[in-house]
Symmetry: C2
Subunit: 334 residues, 2 copies
DNA sequence: ATGAAAGCGCTAACAT
DNA sequence: ATGTTAGCGCTTTCAT
């Protein structure tokens, strides 16, 4: 029989002729219920389609069997992580709740979301690119790719330094000597490490870094447009640009097109991240891939361990990997 | 001051020297609080970093300002919808909670999830590809791409029939005559419509359908592997395969590679959905695009309307569109 | 303007 | 084996 209002435990209890406590025991598989009663109550539960309210249950029991993944926004980066987390959650026995304000991640969003959900709705959380890296009292938390470097929180990220080296070495091996770096957000750890990788590879090859060819791009397509243009619109322009992420690499592609430069014939471009958009550009972007799915999966497994009181590593760093597509080639001859 | 336990309303009340009732009024912007008290309480809230527990709040108020999107699994299809929903949620003033068991969607998962969350945690839900299409008592619900055809639930989907026709006509226009169809899940409406489109286009071109070339693939890469292999590993293999979705098309690509067949030289492949992965395959997949982001965005807007008591259309069908990439070409000569 | 008290749906002692 | 009772953290009358 369908009712117009949600079926609650009291409804089940009344229908089965028992107390709510007994129903609760049945639902939670506690001892102290006769076979006969159990069968009857179970039958009523099925008939009525009863399912315990997560809110009410967790308010009382402080255990929900649900893990959270908190993101500022559902965009390509975070949803890749989500796919990774989703692919392993079943094997942990938990269910997965992804939460986003939809806004655009005001500073401290992670703390608000966590307070909202923790203690009542989720047993622990994976936080994606938190801006503030406090430890959170009483809630198991794993950070993915935090903006500031590792602190008290168990963290999963990828090897930004090695990635920066890889991108730069790739260009050097093609014969480039005059290489520019369109940087990311200078306040972010990942951007600093990618630049450091760039400098390290240049130094190792005995190549000078022209400081006028190292410009901040801000990780976004819009903020990268002007510096990308400046980089390419000069008589002594570089033969290659290593951009700190794919979005800014795309901006370099835009700038090249505007200036009538062909990629990779006139100038080579390497990005970072390997978001799907990077494969869809024209030409498809050579980029350093972060293993986003694997990072999501790893973080979720760590969280499950943490919630179960098992030991987890403080910092897990996954390898990055160069994906050579079509924006890199040897430099033009003089 | 950081505490070791979650700060709750009682903590705020004690610190500010008022009752929890007053704090509640401040938090919810109710009238009946003096300017002075309001300022003091607000200050304490900020100092302590207090945020109301979603569970406790909604248990009492039955209004949460959170919309849910319920999916069987976080895979490319559902996460695209999620991106679409996420992109508009801010403009509706709601926050967004995505929920998944992680399992593989036992029958009736949507009812379980909905019971769990509705009434207490979310004000309404978008359900992605529900298997059972009941109306749900007392909860505003929008269905995306339901497995059974439209029923009592407001629904958003795309034109699967036209898409199936489009994919097949594309292959026919390239000169293919012997075309296979790797189907989806036979219990799903979308799969049936795509196959129907296939048959319709074949019939319109006066081409026979070899029934041994129509195999179910189950919409997943794993379940499609065997039938994809069977389709290609026969002396009279088809010159083209129309796969019911991108994941199974990717499985066809895998099978072709295993068998040493080149795509599209030896066999052409068309997918359906246009998930990001389809552009990343090698070679990039020709596919029928569903406007997934738009579907997600539309469904979320409809849900917001429904929750606000506004009228919503019963059935919104969005157009599909062929994206020709690199897995289709004329058939090999004999 | 403020606070006391009841209760949302559930679980966990503690009776019986 | 079953029921009674007391909350979980919050909102909401209803007093004051």
């Amino acid at each position: 029989m369908e009712q117009v209002t949600r079926v609650k435990m009291a409804d089940v209890a009344r229908t089965a002729g028992v107390s709510v406590a007994t129903v609760s025991k049945v639902v939670n598989g506690r001892y102290g219920v006769s076979q006969e009663t159990l069968a009857r109550v179970q039958q009523v539960i099925d008939d009525l389609g009863y399912e315990a309210s997560l809110g009410a249950r967790s308010l009382r029991s402080h255990r929900t069997n649900v893990l959270g993944i908190l993101v500022a926004e559902f965009e390509p980066f975070s949803t890749e992580l989500l796919k990774g987390a989703g692919s392993v959650v079943a094997s942990t026995g938990y269910e997965l709740l992804a939460y986003s304000g939809g806004g655009g991640g005001e500073v401290g969003w992670e703390r608000r979301y966590l307070s909202r959900l923790s203690g009542t709705l989720i047993d622990g959380a994976v936080i994606v690119t938190p801006t503030v890296l406090d430890t959170y009292p009483g809630v198991p938390v794993i950070a993915i790719d935090p903006h500031a470097g590792p602190s008290g929180l168990p963290t999963v990220d990828s090897d930004n330094l090695a990635g920066g080296v890889m991108a730069t070495e790739h260009l050097i091996s093609l014969g480039h000597r005059r290489i520019a770096h369109l940087g990311g957000r200078t306040d972010l750890d990942s951007a600093r490490l990618r630049e450091q990788g760039f400098r390290q590879a240049m130094a190792a090859a005995g190549l000078p870094v022209d400081e006028s060819l190292v410009l901040p791009g801000g990780y976004r397509r819009l903020t990268s447009a002007a510096p990308a243009h400046d980089l390419l619109d000069r008589p002594d322009r570089p033969t290659a640009v290593f951009a700190a992420n794919d979005l800014s690499a795309l901006a370099v592609l835009d700038a090249a097109r505007d200036l009538g430069l062909r990629v990779p014939h006139d100038v080579s471009v390497v990005g970072f991240d390997n978001v799907p958009e990077s494969a869809l550009s024209e030409p498809p972007l050579t980029t350093v891939a972060q293993p986003l799915r694997e990072m999501g999966a790893t973080a979720l497994r760590m969280l499950a361990d943490l919630v179960s009181g098992r030991e987890v590593p403080m910092h897990l760093r996954l390898a990055t990997e160069l994906h050579v597509r079509s924006t890199t080639a040897p430099p033009p001859p003089f």
